[in-house]
Subunit: 475 residues, 2 copies
């Protein structure tokens, strides 16, 4: 039974692929595929994280938001350039360069390797979806219902105008000027609505303008915009699934979205003390995190079950738990998980985008590029207008408020991702939206620095900032 010398010739078994691939002759066995799915997922995650870190670190050094770097990193490792991360959308499973490496090391090919490729692609897709769910849960946790109510009417009007103008002009323009179908036009219009609270808040913090009146209005409006954008996305994505614009369905979904959000927050606030009491009584590891994840995943599932999007449920769960006394502790626990999973989402969005459709030397691409320029103009002008409707604040820098609303960031990419996954957006329209997101996210930080720099002479520092600055450091 003991073979003392049998393996001497296979000291390096990966050198003899045919010795190991014998089981291929029969049915592909699960025991053969399963470990390779794991190792290919591990390799994919290494590639994802390297791309995310290299991209974001380069971007932050040239004063661009890190999320942009992750997207571009995804472009590089995805179908556009390196073909390392290839996420199947169409049902066929293209073998990425990475899967070929895994197959070569293990001596596996053919049907079994195709199964590995498909499974790996599905696992990475689900991890990416979990990433955006955790990200929206975290955004919810960082939001503050009371803060939203306090910044009140100013922020609300900026948010509403900043959603309504780009959406209406964008959708109408795409239908009338470009002859697009209603569904893709509405979807692309909806992608114009969101403001990235993460990017905006980061830019304002870097400029030390978070506590200025303009900063307060921008943050308040961005938070509201996030909520509006999520509702718009849920409505539009659900809409797109049925294939037609059915007004009764829109109303059903809007009522559903509002009822779900308001209802879950209402019930959530009632249940919040019980959440805290329950977590306090639990004695095992991860008591607050696991309890919160159960809640977030449950709301995400319920949102999906009533035809909304999972991310709406996750955001509502975050908003509810932000009201508890445990929100600080919970945020600390969720943050590393978002660090781990969110980059997978942004890389996946980039990896799915085929930028070759934007090559201007190919005549087929020109319509897409014209759409992209149209979207960029609408995206910028629509948000700039929103700054000019602020009332009752005579000395305010309206231009700064408008520019602060420009970056689309994560939420814009969520639209692009959902649109690409669901097959609603054509490749060129999807790429055009990503170009719009890249442009707006790109432009806002230097523009914001420019307009705030100009007002510094006119208005000077705020009282709080003067107090905070030591005399010796003041110029």
């Amino acid at each position: 039974m003991v073979n003392w010398f049998g393996s001497l010739i296979e000291g390096a078994p990966w050198m003899f692929p045919d010795l190991l691939s014998l089981p291929l002759l029969g049915q592909v066995s699960e025991a053969e595929v399963e470990p390779l799915v794991l190792t290919s997922v591990l390799l994919s995650l290494i590639v994802v994280y390297l791309a995310a870190k290299v991209g974001s670190e380069i971007c932050i050094r040239i004063n661009l938001p890190p999320v942009l770097g992750e997207l571009i990193g995804g472009l590089v490792v995805g179908v556009s350039v390196l073909h390392l991360i290839v996420l199947a959308e169409t049902g066929d499973s293209p073998e990425s360069a990475l899967i070929k490496l895994v197959g070569w090391v293990a001596g596996l090919e053919g049907e079994a390797l195709q199964q590995v490729s498909q499974a790996e692609s599905r696992v990475i897709s689900v991890l990416a979806e979990l990433g955006v769910i955790i990200l929206l849960f975290e955004i919810g946790l960082e939001s503050n219902l009371k803060e939203l109510i306090r910044v009140g009417p100013q922020a609300a009007i900026v948010a509403v105008v900043g959603v309504a103008v780009p959406f209406t002009v964008g959708t109408t323009g795409l239908i009338t000027l470009f002859g697009l179908g209603t569904i893709p036009a509405i979807f692309a219009g909806a992608a114009l609505t969101a403001t990235s609270i993460g990017i905006t808040a980061k830019v304002l913090a870097d400029l030390k303008k978070l506590s200025s009146t303009e900063g307060q209005i921008i943050i308040g409006a961005a938070v509201l915009d996030d909520v509006l954008g999520i509702i718009v996305l849920a409505v539009v994505a659900s809409l797109a699934k049925t294939g037609e614009v059915q007004i009764a369905h829109v109303i059903y979904l809007m009522v559903g979205a509002v009822t779900f959000l308001v209802g879950s927050i209402f019930i959530g606030r009632i249940l919040n003390p019980y959440f805290v009491a329950l977590v306090d009584r639990l004695q095992t590891r991860g008591q607050i995190l696991i309890t919160a994840l159960i809640f977030a995943f449950l709301l995400a599932y319920l949102a999906a079950a009533i035809q909304l999007e999972t991310i709406l449920g996750a955001f509502a769960a975050g908003l509810i738990l932000a009201e508890t006394s445990k929100h600080q502790e919970l945020q600390e626990k969720v943050s590393p998980i978002a660090d781990m999973l969110a980059p997978i989402f942004f890389i996946a969005v980039g990896a799915r985008t085929d930028v070759s459709v934007l090559n201007p030397f190919n005549p087929d691409n020109r319509p897409g590029l014209i759409i992209a320029s149209f979207l960029v103009v609408v995206a910028i002008v629509g948000k700039l207008l929103s700054g000019f409707v602020v009332f009752g604040q005579p000395g305010i820098n309206r231009l700064a408020v408008g520019i602060g609303m420009i970056p689309r960031g994560e939420v814009g990419l969520v639209f692009a991702g959902v649109g690409a996954t669901s097959g609603i957006l054509s490749e060129s329209l999807d790429a055009a939206i990503i170009v719009m997101v890249i442009f707006t996210t790109f432009l806002a930080p230097p523009l914001l620095r420019l307009v705030f720099g100009n007002t510094e002479d006119a208005q000077g520092l705020t009282t709080a900032e003067i107090k905070a600055t030591a005399p010796g450091e003041q110029q």
Copy 2:
């Protein structure tokens, strides 16, 4: 193009499954399967977390280790009882009750639902594997090479005897007394070797015996045991893959395991300052976590590529990074991720176990039960012996040291999980190992309390403990 009333009759679309399942007539589309994979994964995670929390919270209240509760929770939701989490191993995809619910809500059945079921099962399996990888990475981070060297020869001899005796007696007994094949016998013997550092440390901390001489030796030996157990698992699991015991291969693997572990730690220690310098230069979110994960996943992949186990690589990565000045910060970031992913592994192990083979009223099961009793006896006696080989410590409570080594905990379950996944262990042998893990993990805490209670009269409290206890509180 706008249909104003079309959706009035489908206000509750899930009530009309045939309206939504029309695409089933043709090829099953990816766009139809993909969102359901996500929602079924979300539901599965909710079930996993509920089972893990209910199980561990009950266990901690009756003075048993929480991990035992997660295992039993897995038994309840798995193939043994509720059939909610059914992880396919054999290639066919059984539909769990949970998948049936997802299908019913979405109005999906047949081939498409089977695809959803298979994909969900694969995603949960990979998440479970990532869970055990992160767990071993965390155990590595919590270990301390210098500490291991300091407790020195005492701990080493306890560890070696505690591995060698149960392994030799167990494997020989299973082959000679029960006529088992060499591979399963070695695998089951190997499962007898590990000591759970987590459970042992927790029990000692609860008894305030961590700083006693016995406590120091137990912890040191348990850490070494963990490393030995991981090498044994890597060797045995790799062995099992080739189908025979090939001594040259064993040597190749042992040399490989030692070279890999020693080499990666050696090179790792050289690279450690660069890791710290790199992390310090990174400016974007998750700089330390993502850098560490890239390193851990890379070593895990390399270990798998040279036919060792992924967990060995993850453990080595943890051990290496434990030496850096950033290990505290890193541990805080990894901890919530382990909280999130590790329970999936334990629940999956429990869910895969069919305890019906342990029903004594079924005559077919009796051999399995006899094996289980044999394993339990060897597991306990083998570790008790290890306590009696401690030299140069005349006043020591040797019984306490031996009992402290008894709980098998996580590492024993890792063996059971790997054995079940790879198909090496028969159902009854796998269940017998789990019974052995449950018994040893169960027995150790009350036994340890008993023997340490007895020595308190003979030896009294240690000086450190007397100093730490205020006079008023002393009995």
